[in-house]
Symmetry: C3
Amino acid sequence: GDGRMGVMYNGSDWNFNSRIRAKFTMSGQTDGGLEFGGSVRADQATNATSGTSASVYISGAFGKVSMGDVVGASEALFGDLAEVGYTDLDGAGLGNISGLSVGASRNNMGANEIPYLTGDNGGSVVGSTANTGPNLLYTGTFGAFSVAASASDGKAVSTSDNQEYALAAAYTMGDYTIGAGYEIVDVTTGQNWKQGEIVGTATFGNTAVKAYYADGSGGNNLDKAYGIGVSSVFGATTVNGYVNYAEATDGTNGTAYGIGAAYDLGGGASVVGGVADSDIAGTDTQADLGIKFSF
Amino acid sequence: GDGRMGVMYNGSDWNFNSRIRAKFTMSGQTDGGLEFGGSVRADQATNATSGTSASVYISGAFGKVSMGDVVGASEALFGDLAEVGYTDLDGAGLGNISGLSVGASRNNMGANEIPYLTGDNGGSVVGSTANTGPNLLYTGTFGAFSVAASASDGKAVSTSDNQEYALAAAYTMGDYTIGAGYEIVDVTTGQNWKQGEIVGTATFGNTAVKAYYADGSGGNNLDKAYGIGVSSVFGATTVNGYVNYAEATDGTNGTAYGIGAAYDLGGGASVVGGVADSDIAGTDTQADLGIKFSF
Amino acid sequence: GDGRMGVMYNGSDWNFNSRIRAKFTMSGQTDGGLEFGGSVRADQATNATSGTSASVYISGAFGKVSMGDVVGASEALFGDLAEVGYTDLDGAGLGNISGLSVGASRNNMGANEIPYLTGDNGGSVVGSTANTGPNLLYTGTFGAFSVAASASDGKAVSTSDNQEYALAAAYTMGDYTIGAGYEIVDVTTGQNWKQGEIVGTATFGNTAVKAYYADGSGGNNLDKAYGIGVSSVFGATTVNGYVNYAEATDGTNGTAYGIGAAYDLGGGASVVGGVADSDIAGTDTQADLGIKFSF
């Protein structure tokens, strides 16, 4: 499980902020050597029974197949930019750009998130208010190559609904990884939403850098987005920062940025603080300082 | 806990279906040698605090007393017919018979379920929309005889409501068990609902057979029901099947049937699939194929 | 976790009453020797993610800082009067006094509870319907002295709301402890609510006695309250009782009283029963008898 406690500034006030979550990890192995399992947090337990939160998996030499609330293929391989603050500080994130928030609810709109088109919410598909149930994700690593594929099932019970699928691949050479992903939402009416991403990561000594470029097409309300995140380790201290720009097809755009630090107290406890902001109208500076626990 | 993932056909579409559940089992022993405990799944946690899901028990040489969301006396001794499919495939079950679904909400109406009158839903009593809170169940085994008794408390807080009680007994002789149960719902208005069941089970080598006959009387909307279920083990493969007929007092009736197989992968994982259907108007064939995990 | 089962009389009817709860306790230690952790019950899991139930803490030689659903400073040091019955039997509690229940929702109004003004409900502050989020509690013990301080953050998101804070101190000398607390709710409109408490505890052989006097001032709807609780251990049997009087500023008043016994079966199981009542209009005698389990 994990816990946290501290104070958070939400743009106008400092508030106490704490939480505690218990997580249960289950796994097993078949006689033939396949591994299977899943994990669920106590607060996800009810939705986990219908596959719209948490997930289960089976894995072997062929890779890993997961079902439930899984991320899309691109996010599975590349993840997001480094997070700042003990509460993630998403209040001034890309979701505040008006052209990205009207008409369709996108996931992955946090300040430090790469704005992936698919996955990440257990069956909530862009442009649909229905939950299309568990999603499917395959990931596999073969030597220097990693591949991923994901899909929603495109049905809200028996009604056809927007269906998403995505493919991604990455190539790793020493401290460098370069990869690309392509995501499609096959909408029931209108033009399909499409999005491609190119992501590169590099490690220089104690510093890791991740940069991406995303390009929307079809009915996608995202025109383009790019960003860079940096994480540097100095002994027990880690410093994280990012700059993240997105532009909607209607021309509205904005840049979110954040910087933070974490000091490892050992034993699973860290003191973590950060500041994040953006130039998007209507957003205010976010800041926090607290203690994070992992158990 | 348990998990599952796979695909399910609901009569018109194939859908992804997955879930994961964490289960906590607690037990202890008094200085005098009585055992006590209970179990609760994470998704039941909120209702378990009011006794309308999960249950607690105390047991000793006298038998076992359980309170909470317990089954009725008959179901405690006899259970249901063999289940097929990794999702249970109840979509075409006996609850689709119009004479059993109107006017009163019965539990135990799945395709492979013996249509017991009482228990099974933590205080939801036939003919009442209120939850009368925790139910009580006693079971005891004395040599070849097993007995069970159950009751709801007949109160929704301080309002008298429909009360249910049931008695059952079984006699086991080698590979054969024969038993009978009698269930009553003492309704606050109108005629009491009554139902008797006779159930027999037999094991022939690797094959287990269960057959039942249920007879309703009083205000019961079930006239009669009968069915047979078979389960055969061939090495790592288990084949299950059932035929289950019910007739309402208004003459509407139907037969549900299903067949399925499970292949044990070892370590708690099985590949499970099945097909179920019925001749009841408005139902469609149900099918699934997936992997089940137990942890 | 814990469980219980038995029967409860709510003033007009006997009802079955059972529950089971799973509790997860997490803890760790930093390299510098600070301890941290938290606990959450499965049924609290969803609210625990926003800090309005359960809590997290960090502790060391300086004392213990907790955040989440914590009690106020006074309650942290002094607790409540002895509880009777396996279900706590709060139905005839002080909250039934009309002058204490109208106009503002107070916590800590059970039959055996000292009517503390602050804390105990994860951010629900007297006189406000909003939840002001996690509360903060500090406790420390230095030789014979114990001190505590608590606060809510006074914000419902960004809206200023009633803020509570409290201070308490206690001095222990052998079997005697004497202490005092002072609690304030700084309301956004009108007069602040204030309340002081003096609490003493004493242990005579196998008998423990706790007595308190509470005095309200400012906008507080409690004029005064006082009570005494006694707990005596005779071998495996513990007998508890209390008398608890409160008077509202509008003159309405009442006395709650209760007596009960617990017999320890060993291994975490006890048979517990009790009777509680009050002279407050509209209340009825409460009684119960059941088994309590702790796991």
